[in-house]
């Protein structure tokens, strides 16, 4: 921090808040300075999260021991306001002890300077995680967060309809296009899947599978490559499918989408591990129709599978109870009990490998047909190539979906939009004073 400017802002704030305090009428007294321990002597740890079911994990943890008492605030989902709230809280020095971090948002939170380094604390767990998840919390070789789940993408399809019309499950993107044609031929009102133009993280996951990371760290410099060969190939491929009317382009998970997958107007879904839960909950009565496969690949000899989402948790730099927070996070990340609790309302896919074996046993597998869900997801997770998120990745998702908005009206094409996003990503990072170089590694 530049001390003098910082000082002047503080001084202004102090003066300003003085008059505001008058208006507030001593309200500070009432705002509650909660103590660090509960009445029974347990250390109080505050966590913010938007993970569904976190209340149940917290309850299970609090019931299981007496040293640490976790207090949960459910905040808005990531880009709907959760990140904003966390970043603002870090700036305002009132961050909770534990912050909800997704792999994709980790670096952006790091740039606020609000996360505590956990390299030493977690060193003993290194071997137990899916490598891509462990990599995801160690962007610069230091560990900044505790992985919870992992979200390799997967292809879900209507096995009953595929079988009925003799359609094979596509293994490559080339086959995928034929499959899309076959579906439209079999039922002209139906499509194979939707390509959600309003979801930048989806496109990021697709590009991840194409194998060209959007960011790399080279010494002290960010290497930005949003319009790399793999990404452009992905964009051109989907532009072709959209232009040919082979896929829908509406958002996934909307009411419209649910009614489409329920009524057979969509025969497939390009989703992630968490889509298992989405499907089961959206169309609970459609048992025995859907199956899961790994994502189609570009090169069958070197199969790669992208990732969309996945949760990790960080500890605030200013937390006074980091030890207790870590106790909870280690439990949350690695204890088999978490999977048992989770299996009651979702289909957890933990980053911690031993927990995944537990999940395989306790999650009911009767809704899907075909290959066992956890076999497919394990295979998908093993195929995940290297990837680094950048310090503006969350903003980039919004920029992407904004740039894609005109694709439906024919105002632009996906590859053009991607090129524009690359240049705006680079200038945005430069504006922030970051050291940036464009393109792929020399």
């Amino acid at each position: 921090m530049a001390p003098h400017t910082d000082w002047s802002r503080r001084a202004f704030l102090r003066a300003a808040s003085g008059s505001a305090a008058l208006a507030a009428g001593g309200a500070t007294l009432l705002s509650g300075c909660s103590s660090r321990t509960t009445a029974s002597g347990a250390t109080r740890v505050r966590i913010w999260s938007w993970m569904t079911g976190m209340d149940k994990y917290v309850a299970a943890f609090n019931a299981a021991q007496r040293e640490v008492h976790v207090e949960l605030s459910v905040i808005a989902a990531g880009l709907s306001g959760g990140y904003a709230q966390q970043t603002n809280a870090i700036r305002a020095h009132n961050a909770p002890d534990i912050l909800h971090v997704e792999y994709q948002g980790l670096i952006q939170l790091l740039a606020t300077g609000g996360l505590r380094e956990l390299t030493e604390d977690l060193a003993d767990l290194a071997e137990g995680y899916t490598p891509a998840a462990w990599q995801g919390v160690r962007p610069d070789g230091r560990t900044w967060a505790v992985p919870m789940d992992f979200a390799p993408m997967a292809f879900y399809y209507r096995k009953d309809l595929f079988d009925e019309h003799g359609i094979e499950v596509p293994r490559t993107w080339e086959e995928f296009r034929h499959t899309a044609e076959a579906v439209r031929q079999a039922a002209p009102g139906s499509r194979l899947t939707t390509f959600p133009l309003n979801d930048g993280s989806f496109f990021a996951g697709m590009s991840w599978g194409a194998g060209d990371p959007w960011w790399r760290i080279e010494g002290d410099t960010w290497l930005v490559d949003v319009a790399g060969e793999g990404t452009l190939r992905t964009a051109a491929y989907w532009q072709d499918l959209i232009s040919a009317g082979l896929v829908q382009s509406a958002g996934t998970g909307t009411q419209d989408w649910i009614s489409s997958i329920h009524s057979g107007r969509l025969w497939g879904l390009l989703g992630a591990s968490w889509s298992v839960g989405t499907l089961k909950k959206s169309i609970p009565d459609d048992t025995g129709r859907w199956a899961i496969a790994t994502m189609p690949v570009w090169d069958a000899s070197a199969p790669a599978n992208g990732v969309q989402g996945g949760t990790a948790f960080g500890i605030s730099e200013e937390s006074e109870v980091a030890e207790a927070a870590l106790t909870f996070l280690r439990w949350l990340s690695t204890d088999p009990e978490v999977v048992r609790v989770g299996s009651e309302f979702t289909s957890p896919f933990p980053a911690w490998l031993p927990s995944r074996e537990v999940a395989r046993e306790v999650v009911p597998g009767d809704w899907f047909v075909g290959d066992p869900v956890y076999d497919v997801l394990d295979e998908a997770a093993a195929r995940v190539p290297d990837w680094t998120w950048g310090p503006t990745s969350l903003g980039l998702f919004a920029t992407l979906s904004d740039a894609f908005a005109e694709v439906t009206t024919g105002g632009t094409t996906l590859p053009d939009a991607v090129r524009r996003v690359q240049s705006s990503a680079v200038s945005d990072m430069r504006d922030r004073g970051l050291s940036v170089r464009e393109g792929s590694p020399a």
Binding site: I107, L110, T112, N198, D220, G251, T408, L434
Partner: protein, 312 residues
């Protein structure tokens, strides 16, 4: 927000005429005034004036990272750099364009409908006045978030009927603007109608009677007698509607969950929110806020000047 339009004695009192409520001489009145006006004055200071000053201050600084950015940000004084950035930002200019287009449709449409309905209610032929006016007024009490949600569902294909009925694609790229106009017109027509109707009730009956005797029909009476009489009310409503339009925020934010066609910076308010609370660029957000405040001040001044000229 609210658009009630009292024309008070203050404006019409000739200069030099004695102000009402001249208190007795003595020290008590200032003390009483302090106690009565003080709480609001403090609120105004703490929640409006100080924040504006602070926003102005913030708008002159920016935060910079360095290297990979892992060390956190530091503040840099940039004079008017943030303002230049905002004005040079295509996203901001687009948002201004969107809101201008929106206001050009929404303001005349909504106020026009409200005025016509108020005149209809005021006409002698109408039965069940209370029922009609309440029916049209009710959407006003629906919170913006919920209004947005209701209409978003109504616009959704396969759920609401509107996708098939409307001449535009309500969630498509070019349909968002009319869709938003439909929502906000729904919310505000009844409210303004009541305001206009209430004002119309104050048009002196003898004036109307005179018009009738002169052979003016209902339409002519409405246009040449009633409307000019409530013109001040209409202009106040106009000011508030224009300011309200500039601030459009909640409804497009809600629609964003249902369509990709509303960008994250679709209106200037969304732009401010995005810059402040998503991108955490406080300087740029503060500069955009100041521009927004400036624009509403200028526009209200413009409308007021227009109104003054018209009523002369």
């Amino acid at each position: 927000m609210t658009v009630l339009a009292p024309t008070t004695a203050e404006e019409t009192r000739p200069p030099g005429a004695p102000a009402p409520g001249r208190p007795r001489r003595g020290g008590r009145a200032p003390l009483a005034a302090l106690l009565l006006a003080g709480p609001f004055a403090l609120l105004l200071l703490g929640t409006v004036l100080v924040p504006i000053g602070y926003a102005l201050y913030l708008s002159l600084f920016t935060e910079r990272l360095s290297g990979l950015g892992f060390d956190g940000p530091h503040d840099v004084f940039v004079w008017l750099g943030n303002y230049a950035d905002v004005l040079g930002d295509g996203a901001f200019r687009d948002s201004v364009g969107n809101v201008a287009g929106y206001a050009l449709v929404h303001v005349p449409l909504m106020l026009g409908i409200a005025l016509v309905l108020a005149l209809l209610l005021d006409s002698a032929t109408v039965r069940l006045r209370q029922v009609w006016s309440l029916a049209v007024f009710l959407p006003y009490v629906v919170p913006g978030v919920i209004a947005g949600l209701i209409w978003a569902y109504l616009y959704s294909p396969n759920i609401g009927p509107l996708q098939d009925l409307l001449p535009w694609d309500p969630l498509g790229g070019n349909g968002v603007l009319p869709s938003l106009v439909t929502i906000t017109t729904w919310q505000w027509t009844g409210y303004n109608m009541i305001i206009f109707y209430t004002a119309l009730r104050t048009v002196p009956r003898d004036v109307l009677e005179a018009a009738r005797v002169d052979g003016a029909g209902p339409l002519r009476t409405a246009w040449s007698v009633k409307v000019p009489t409530i013109r001040p009310t209409i202009f106040v409503a106009l000011v508030f509607t224009v300011i309200g339009s500039l601030q459009l925020f909640t409804e497009p934010l809600v629609l964003r969950s249902f369509t990709g066609s509303v960008t994250s910076t679709w209106t200037p308010s969304l732009y401010v929110y995005e810059e402040a609370f998503i991108s955490n660029d406080y300087g740029r957000a503060a500069a955009a806020s100041m521009l927004l405040a400036l624009a509403s001040a200028l526009l209200s001044a413009l409308v007021m000047r227009l109104s003054a000229r018209r009523s002369r």
